[in-house]
Structure formats: structure tokens, C-alpha cells
């Protein structure tokens, strides 16, 4: 049982940190523009595909560096020439714009790369087990993913809270006019934040591509869960996004690892149903089966009991 617990924790951490890299960009962009970027997961997918193409010619490491840069530049261009123009028509227009963009990117990916799964592999350098515990290996690549994610979280936190740029960004988020009056170029700051946010999604894509497989549906699979995280963590809160990401990663991982289900609950309550009962599907439901919907359940609970999210500061 202990081995399952340890590995479930590690797996949860890997998933959680990966989700955080997506959620951090999304939540930054939200606090800046007040709009949820529906195309955020699509930038994650673009990151994986760019890295795949680059890795074919120059290897994985070149892809790790350049793919996020390309994605970031693309993101900045989208903000500069797309979102900024749509902005004057209000939030709904922005929302619809990003929604459409998500479809556009998915179709473009299929058009250029085709619909089949791409053979995007992790680098040979990391192709060894980091450690073996109870006969189960933990791949070095996953350790590397944890390392990169934590490094990014710490440096992002440091830049935002300690550096001069971070202070200007924070000020621009809450008091854009004042910052503008002080002589700072606020639109440029916004474009930069959008670019960095999408680049972070790109990094997540580069690293997740080899593990979670690179295919045109990868954005859809991750898209909804990232929104759940941002809302649970509190819209616009970086620390909240971090906690929510880890929470959801672990929650799903533990749920899959457990063997509990309705039958156990019924046993405790001493109730028994025959297999012919019309609701037999409900009585035989197990926790692993419903693991993927647990985050959404958590979302509902958070919205009921703490509508601002775990760390949200927005007041009604």
C-alpha cells in the first residue's frame, strides 16, 4: 500500500506542477485583462508541436528553448493585433475572440501536422530511471519536469514580487491609469505579460508532449481542467493557482490509486442491492471511475462555499 501511496503522490505532483505552468499564465492574463483566455491550452499544444518539429532537426534541448519563445512571440502578436483591437468592444467580444482562436489553432495544427499522433520522444540523456522503489521505476524525465516547474514557479514569484518590473506589472494590473501617468508604457506591459503567459503554456507543452503524447486533441483534454484550477485557486491569484494545481493533481492521482467505491460505502452502512436493481450502475461506481470528474465536483463545492476561490481577493 505504501508504494502505491508514494508513487501516487509523485504522479500527482508531476501532473499538478504541469497544470500549474498552464494555470499560472492563464491567471496572470486574467488579472491583467479581466478575460479568460480560452485559447490558452491551444498555445500549450502549439508548444508541443513546435518542439516536436524542432527536435527532429536540432534535438530536444533546442526545442525546449526555442519552442516556448516562438509560442510567446505568437502570443504577443495575438495580443497586439487581435485582442487589443477587440478589447474596445468589451469583454464578450474578447471572450468570443479567444474561443474562436482555440478552434482556429486546432484546425491549423491538423492542417500542418496531420491528425495522427506524433512520435515526439524525451531526450536520450534523461532516458533512465531516477530511482527504483519497491520494484517500480521513476523515470528521470519526470524528475526533470518537477525540477523545471518548481524553478519556474520560484523565479516567477521572485520577479513578480521583488523585481522592479514585477512591481510595475502589479501596479499596472490594479491601477493602469496611474502607471500610465507615471510614464510607463502600459499596453507594452500587457503585451509582454500575455507573451510570457503563453510562453509558459508553451514550456508546459514542450515538456508534456513526450509523456502525454502529442496529438491534436491534447489541448481539449487539458483545456477545461485549467479553468477549473484558476477558478478554484481564485481568479488572478498566482499562489492560489499553485495550491489548486497541486490539490487537483494529487486528488486525481489518489482517487485512481484507491480501490474504494460505492460497494464499500454500502457495506459500512449495511445496505445491500441485488445486481438487477435499476440503479446498479450507481451502486457499483468506484472512485477510480469518477476520478476525472472530481475536479469539477470540487469546483462546484468551492463556488458554493467560497465563491472568490481559495486565495481570491476580488470582492463583490
Amino acid at each position: 500500500m505504501l508504494e502505491v501511496f508514494i508513487f501516487a503522490t509523485l504522479n500527482g505532483l508531476v501532473t499538478g506542477l504541469l497544470l500549474f505552468m498552464l494555470a499560472s499564465g492563464l491567471t496572470l492574463i486574467f488579472s491583467m485583462m479581466g478575460v479568460l483566455n480560452f485559447a490558452h491550452a491551444s498555445f500549450y499544444m502549439l508548444g508541443a508541436y513546435f518542439a516536436y518539429s524542432i527536435s527532429l532537426h536540432f534535438g530536444f534541448w533546442t526545442g525546449l528553448i526555442f519552442a516556448p519563445i516562438i509560442v510567446g512571440v505568437l502570443g504577443a502578436l495575438v495580443e497586439r493585433y487581435g485582442l487589443r483591437r477587440v478589447h474596445q468592444h468589451g469583454h464578450v467580444a474578447e471572450l468570443v475572440f479567444t474561443f474562436g482562436l482555440a478552434f482556429l489553432i486546432e484546425e491549423a495544427v491538423q492542417f500542418f501536422w496531420g491528425a495522427d499522433t506524433k512520435n515526439y520522444q524525451s531526450p536520450d540523456l534523461l532516458d533512465f530511471p531516477l530511482f527504483t522503489l519497491f520494484g517500480q521505476e521513476f523515470p528521470a524525465y519526470r524528475g526533470f519536469m518537477i525540477g523545471i516547474s518548481i524553478t519556474i514557479f520560484i523565479s516567477l514569484y521572485y520577479v513578480l514580487t521583488k523585481s522592479r518590473i514585477g512591481i510595475i506589472i502589479q501596479a499596472a494590473l490594479t491601477h493602469p491609469h496611474t502607471v500610465s501617468n507615471l510614464g510607463h508604457n502600459v499596453p507594452l506591459i500587457f503585451m509582454g505579460v500575455f507573451g510570457v503567459g503563453t510562453a509558459l503554456a508553451g514550456v508546459a507543452g514542450v515538456m508534456a508532449g513526450p509523456v502525454l503524447t502529442t496529438f491534436p486533441g491534447m489541448a481539449v483534454v487539458l483545456g477545461s481542467i485549467v479553468f477549473v484550477i484558476v477558478v478554484i485557486g481564485g481568479l488572478g491569484s498566482l499562489a492560489g493557482a499553485f495550491i489548486a494545481s497541486i490539490l487537483i493533481g494529487l486528488l486525481q492521482s489518489y482517487a485512481i490509486a484507491s480501490d474504494l467505491g460505492m460497494p464499500d460505502l454500502l457495506n459500512i452502512l449495511g445496505i445491500e442491492f441485488s445486481r438487477d436493481h435499476p440503479l446498479t450502475d450507481l451502486w457499483t461506481l468506484t472512485l477510480p471511475q469518477i476520478a476525472p470528474i472530481l475536479p469539477f465536483l470540487l469546483l462546484v463545492l468551492v463556488l458554493i462555499f467560497r465563491p472568490t476561490g481559495l486565495m481570491g481577493k476580488r470582492e463583490q
Binding site: 508504494e3 502505491v4 501516487a8 484546425e107 495522427d116 521505476e137 502525454l212 486533441g217 485512481i256 490509486a257
Partner: protein, 436 residues
Amino acid sequence: MLSADDNNSKNYRENKKLAMRTPQIFRYFVLSILLVFSSYTLSQEPVRIAFMDPLTGAFASIGNSGLKQLQFAADYLYNSKGGILGGRMIEIVPLDNKQSPTESQLQFRRAVSGGIQYIFQGNGSAVANALNDAINRHNRRNPGQEVMQVNYSAVDPILTEENCSFWHFRWDAHANMKLNILTDYIAANEGINSVYIIGQDYSFGQVVSDTSIELLRQKRPDIKIAGNEFHPIGQVKDFTPYVTKIVASGADAVITGNYGADMVSLARSIIDNGLDIPIYTFYAAYDGITATLGEDGKDRIRLIHNETSNPIPTEQRKEFYRAFKAANPNNDVTQPRITNALMMIVQAMEETQSTDPYDVGLALEDMRFTTIGGDEVWMRGEDHQVFQSLHISVHTDEGVEFDADNSGFGLYTEYSVPLEETIVPVNECRMRRPRR
């Protein structure tokens, strides 16, 4: 006749409008419009056949690959040789059902309004069941305009058992037939003492799990079922947590019916986590899967399927493969049964000199047919289930003349079962035969 034609062209315009949504479908439409025009100038109206499978979304790669195979088979075998029924071309109309039963109903209405009477569909038994319902209802209400369901890959047994229908024909062995052979193979392997079953949480996955447990209990009562897991279809990001459970359970082998992205991710996780046990599957090859598994999957992944991939017994089928590869360098002939279905339907059309699904259906019943691979195929009349030899192949790079995904790796057949031994009795099928 004239008014019907007017109607057709109007529907055609509407169809065209709908298809503009995605560039890919648009491209196929331009192609099919060209085809229509060329055949009009040549002689008569084409025989239109719909291909309804996911062309976008998580399972798009399988759908698109199947579409290319059907398109190629029609062009290579018939259209380039002057068509069928004395000069009529075959026109393949792609319809994207996004692997959703609801979307399939919509696409079915489109097909019907376009005057299409043959629908190829294979991915997803849930979709196949929904389509089966829709077609039966339509055929009951519109005698004379019936539609035939050409099921080339949906393997839920119910389609030829409880829900069997005169209008449904299946060209793939159903899950119980395949599992019967697969469990024989597993039972014969003395080294396997416990198996872990994992599958997608819907009708097909449930059937694979229930039947495997049942059959293994009969054949090798000593084999322990170490785990029986379901996961939501197309939703799992990372299979590592599942693999952790498999390792902890101490299983000697894994059985799964997963396909598409769910299959790649599962196999990758098993390999990445250093779990070195055989994986028995239905669909773990082609469309990027073989390339992704590569060297790591060698000699560990086995498939049960019909029509061998290596060695290929006849020169004629080798020719077909090479020509397909020349036309589609990035795809493979992954499902020879698509070609078999088309060839048998065309033969039935030629025999009856008719494209009416009723006549064609009668001619298909109990048809015995030899495929271009030299394999004998029998379409049983009572439940419209096809029978042909079944094979278990291994993922390897040795002896592979025709590889998959241009990776050097492919499938090599290790174990074959002749047609007679794959036959299962007719089960619970009380077919309502249409009266004419």
C-alpha cells in the same frame, strides 16, 4: 426523375455550406465535386457511399486514415478501371461525426437528404448502436429509400446479437470472437498467472472486461484477475497513476481494448515506468502508435486482428499496399476489412445489377468471398456477422516487409486461427426481415 434531381442538387448546395466549417472537409468536398462533375460528363450518376467517422478531435487520426483507405480502394479497384455497373463511378462522401452519437444522427440526416444509401462507420460501438437505431427507424418509415450500415470496425457483440438488424453488416470479428482467440493464447502461456484488465468506460470496454474474465475462468481458473479498471474514454491525460496500480498488483500481463490516444498513452506509461510485461490489445498499431512505441515496445505488444500485415501471402495484396503507400506516403493500410467490405458490396451490386440496399443485402447474405490477400470470408446470413481467419501479431522490426508509420517497426503474425475455428453460434439474434 427531374424533380428528384433538383432536390438532390439543392441538398447538395446545403451540404456544401455545412462542409465549409472545416478546411479539411472543404478540401474533400472540392474533390468530391470534381468527381461528380467528371463522372457526369463521362456517363451516369455515381454510386455515393458515405464514410462517417471522427475526422476531427481526439480520434481524428483513425477516422482520416480509414477515409483514405476507402477512398483509395474505390479509386484503385474500380474508378480507375471504368467504374462499376457498366460505367458508374463510386463517390466517397466524408461525414465527420466527431465520435459522438448525437452528431452521428445529424450527419445521418445529411447523408439521407443527399440520397446516400450506404454508410461506412467503424469507430465506437456507442456510435454504431446509435446509428443502428437511426437507420432502422428511417428504413421502417421510408420503404424504397433504405440505408445500409456498413460496420467495418465497431465490435460490440450486441450489434449482431440482441440488436441485430437486416440493414447492418459487420466486417470485423466482434469482441467476444477476438477475446476467445486471445484468451486461448494467454491460457497457453504458462508464465502468465495473473492479468490486469484496463479499458475505456463504455459498452465496448465493459464487454472486453466481462468476457475476458469469463473466458479466462473457463480456460485457466488458476489465473488471477489482478485488476479490472475502467477509465473515461479520451479524457485521461496521464496513465501513470494506473500503471502504478498495475505494478502494485503484480500482474504478469495486461489486456486492453483501448484505441487511439488512449492506447498510445497507456502503452507509453507502461514502458516509461519500466513495467516489463506483455500487453494484449485490439488496436495498438498504426496511425502514429507504432512509431511512438518503437524499440521500447518490441516483442511486448500483441494484437488480435484479421488479415495479416506480415508476411503478406499474395502478390496482389502487396501490389495494393505499394500503390496505397505511393499515393499516401504518411499512411498505411491499417484496416484491410474496409477494402473487403467495399469489394463484397460491389460484387453484390454487380450480381444483382442494383444499388438498392435490399437487393444488395440479400446477395451479401451467406456470400463467400476471397479477399485480395487470398483469405476466405463468409458473411453469415442469420446475423450478418463476418467470419474469416484471425491472427495474433507482435510489434517488432524483424521480418517486417511492410512497416507501419514508416518507422521500420510493424506487425508480424505469430499465431493464426482458420475461419472454421473462429465461428461462434448465433446468439439471441431475432432479425426482423423487411417484406417486399
